[in-house]
Amino acid sequence: MRLKFVLCFGITIVALTVSLSPVLAHHGWSGNSDKEFELSGTVESAVSLAGPHATMKVRSNGQIWDITLAPPPRTEAAGLKEGVIPVGAKVTIQGHRNLDPKKFEIKTERVIWNGHTYNVYPDRK
């Protein structure tokens, strides 16, 4: 009886985990396209090193894009500190855009500005 109960409990947790795994989006890259995506535009709001991920906003052809960078310590380690790139500067973003066409969001690998590449995910191609 007791063993059966513990077993049922364990199976429930495993089943919950497995059934929910397709929704992984934010933490993994599975919610974003496999294809490399490049966007050029001007900085709409500067780099923020607030958690859980550093962010910035870029305007391109009138559309404002959410730029998701690496977690704050890693973004800072790549040299992308707050205030380095001024608002209005021309930047190029390389990464993977959100699979939802209504979401203008890019999980970013590299930010290129003024001839310098900030590689926030140097282990990703």
């Binding site: 109960f5 934010h26 958690g51 859980p52």
Partner: protein, 162 residues
């Protein structure tokens, strides 16, 4: 209503402090949240399994004595750190469906605590043996508790994956 509350929370001094006090702040507060949740759920799991009838040789009073204060401590650590995490970018979570599962589950879990504390079977656990009926009553409370906290934790974890 929720949008306004989230905007207010994000613009509060707490929100500013979370965003502007160093690159490791979020990670450390997140760690605190996990420790709080682990403390809460670890204690709740042991108590709820006993209420459900596992480890009958150990008296309920003996298990409740450490489990209740540990769970309470865990809850307050998790709640305090959780508000900080939410305040960092509160408006980002407005459309997140898991948030609307998590908070009602926490509410129900707390309501269940209140109900349990009103049951004579719970109040008199130290001074007398409980009837079969009362034990079943407590088992129901234990089952609801387990369901509420598992739901809250599962939905809470999924918030970040939306």
């Amino acid at each position: 209503m929720i949008s306004e509350f989230m905007a207010w929370l994000q613009n509060s001094p707490l929100g500013h402090a979370m965003r502007e006090s160093g690159v490791w702040t979020y990670a450390i507060v997140n760690l605190t949240h996990i420790l709080g949740v682990a403390t809460l759920f670890g204690a709740v799991l042991v108590l709820d399994l006993r209420l459900l009838g596992v480890w009958r040789r150990v008296t309920l009073a003996a298990i409740a004595e450490p489990a209740v204060p540990v769970a309470t401590m865990g809850f307050f650590i998790a709640a305090a750190s959780g508000v900080c995490l939410l305040a960092t970018k509160a408006t980002d979570y407005i459309g997140n469906p898991f948030l609307y599962i998590k908070f009602p589950a926490i509410g129900l879990g707390l309501l269940n605590v209140v109900v349990l504390n009103c049951l004579p079977a719970w109040k008199e656990r130290k001074i007398r043996n409980l009837s079969q009926r009362e034990q079943s009553q407590l088992a129901v409370a234990g089952g609801i508790s387990l369901l509420c906290w598992l739901t809250a934790i599962t939905a809470g974890r999924m918030i970040g994956y939306w």
